[in-house]
């Protein structure tokens, strides 16, 4: 089958504004969703579901969050993990203190709390930019994780600061199997990814990109700097907050501030750099890349007859990440998502040059 749009004429702006204006893309997306929702839970092992796919999906969600703030609105942040931590602890406290709330409501409220904290730490962005803003978000990273461990109330005074996440109930059933947790994660991530895609292709997304690309011009056409920037912080932190809650409840099964340290923030930043700054698709590609690379390296090592020593493997990982990040920053700032798009453009014309 050819990847071609010949003969697909758009009859109106509605068709042209659709998420996937090209039929083949629509079909591909349908197939992808069918595989993710139906085939994967049937065929994937417990290990793949619980240790690879669930963290991949949750990190994709966090990467979407950071991408909204950094990729679309142009505000560099090194505090994504801290907002995940806020979400995790908030969800825990909602579950603990308001047990009648359904789990999904806990997750959404956790996102709302993270959004409020995000707005607070976004306030400096009205005065400072770039490097200095990054340093301010770094302060948020340390302050928030410190606060969550320092004050016992957040962790219900547990001695270690590490708490077991409550049992996961949905519609009266407890979700214990990896496949049920995977399906819940997948549903939440799919819905929020769609909402994010819609935002970035609407007025609010254009306003974010406008302040990213040329803030004076943005103001001159009537975009309010204060509101637009803070909304980017709020929405971004909401996404990170929900991701943090999912991480604690559906992946780790524990609520622990250590899971959301600076390394995690950097990991998410690398995901959007490799996957594509300013791209929802790129958030998934970047997360997949970073989650899958260690596994891939092990497989490659296996081909050479030896299993890689754990230390060597992680050194390799760090080196490859470093090289790739430098490559993408210099050569292709729009990451894997852009490479994918170029491939599609080529395919559209193939086999005719130009």
């Amino acid at each position: 089958m050819f990847y071609r749009e010949c003969g697909q004429f758009k009859s109106g702006y509605a068709a042209d504004q659709a998420i996937f204006p090209i039929l083949q893309d629509k079909i591909a997306m349908g197939v992808l969703l069918a595989v993710a929702f139906i085939v994967v839970p049937l065929v994937a092992t417990e290990y793949w579901l619980g240790s690879i796919l669930i963290p991949f999906l949750i990190l994709s969600l966090a990467a979407i969050g950071l991408n909204i703030l950094t990729g679309y609105a142009g505000q560099l942040s090194l505090g994504s993990a801290a907002f995940m931590a806020v979400g995790a602890f908030a969800a825990y406290n909602f579950a603990l203190r308001l047990p009648m709330l359904p789990l999904v409501v806990d997750f959404i409220l956790a996102g709302v709390v993270a959004a409020a904290v995000g707005i607070l730490f976004g306030l400096p962005s009205l005065r400072i930019k770039g490097f200095y803003l990054a340093v301010a978000t770094l302060a948020a990273q340390f302050f928030i994780t410190w606060g969550l461990t320092r004050f016992g109330w957040f962790s219900n005074n547990s001695a270690s600061g590490v708490i077991t996440a409550p049992r996961i109930m949905m519609f009266g059933y407890e979700l214990t199997s990896a496949s049920s947790r995977y399906l819940l994660t997948l549903s939440i991530v799919a819905v929020f990814a769609l909402l994010a895609k819609n935002m970035v292709r609407s007025q609010i997304g254009r306003a974010w990109m406008a302040i990213r690309d040329m803030d004076i011009a943005a103001e001159v056409i009537g975009i309010k700097m204060l509101q637009t920037k803070l909304l980017a912080f709020a929405v971004s932190s909401f996404y990170c907050g929900v991701a943090g809650a999912l991480w604690a409840f559906l992946y780790l099964g524990t609520v622990d501030a250590q899971a959301f340290d600076l390394n995690r923030s950097f990991e998410i930043l690398f995901m959007i750099i490799i996957g594509g700054v300013g791209s929802i698709l790129g958030s998934f590609l970047g997360a997949a890349f970073i989650v899958l690379l260690p596994i891939f390296l092990n497989v490659v090592a296996g081909l050479f007859g030896s299993s890689l020593h754990a230390d060597t493997a992680s050194h390799f990982e760090v080196m490859i990440f470093g090289a790739l990040i430098i490559f993408f920053l210099i050569v292709e700032p729009h990451g894997l998502a852009r490479l994918w798009q170029i491939t599609k453009e080529k395919l559209r014309l193939w086999p005719f040059p130009h």
Partner: protein, 263 residues
Amino acid sequence: MAITGRRVGETLLKVENITMRFGGVKALTDISLEVKQHEILAIIGPNGAGKSSMLNVINGVYHPQEGKITYKGEVRSKMQAHQAAAQGIARTFQNIALFKGMSVLDNIMTGRNLKMKTNFLQQAFYWGAALREELEHRAKVEEIIDFLRIESIRKTPVGRLPYGLQKRVELGRALAAEPELLLLDEPMAGMNVEEKEDMCRFILDVNDEFGTTIVLIEHDMGVVMDISDRVVVLDYGRKIGDGTPSEVRGNEEVIKAYLGTSH
């Protein structure tokens, strides 16, 4: 030669005794001028005369230390740029200030942001009112795209366009706001003759069809004489001339300061 007096109306904007300093540099000294409804006013003057600063003062990017601005009969003090936009003032920049990462279509759509009423939650669902609004404004933007004859590049990222087209897109973005007062900072700088002719045509058409009042800065005296109803001349931050193109051309001081030195 434009016909003066016929369509020109009441005073739209009145600037009185504006002084604007940057540290020790006085960019504008005691400037007063008026802009009448529906007219095309050109501001001319040598480099560094304070022309761009004047536009920046009018649309709230700069805040002058002294002076008074009255827009549509309302005196305004410290107005922010986005408030000026809300009052119907749009502009383009001397150095193109497009949103480089966005397509032509998205740049012009962004120009309509003040006309969009749905909030981000509605937009997240891309449904009902949000979808309707997006499509309505898309149709409006397509009219502008047709008007400026840039149909073939609507999906192109503006960063990839040649300079002349970028200027045209920037005009489109300003027009998208359906402004009452349009400020153009050197809209024809760096263009070849044909591009200049096109741009002149667009400016005259905008003025004619939509009745938009236009203040433009331009170095090309031929263009200024052709399209403007009135000309204000600045030199070293002072106003040294104000009148019809032919009056200004005859003004001794202007000849000495500006026309004498060829640009």
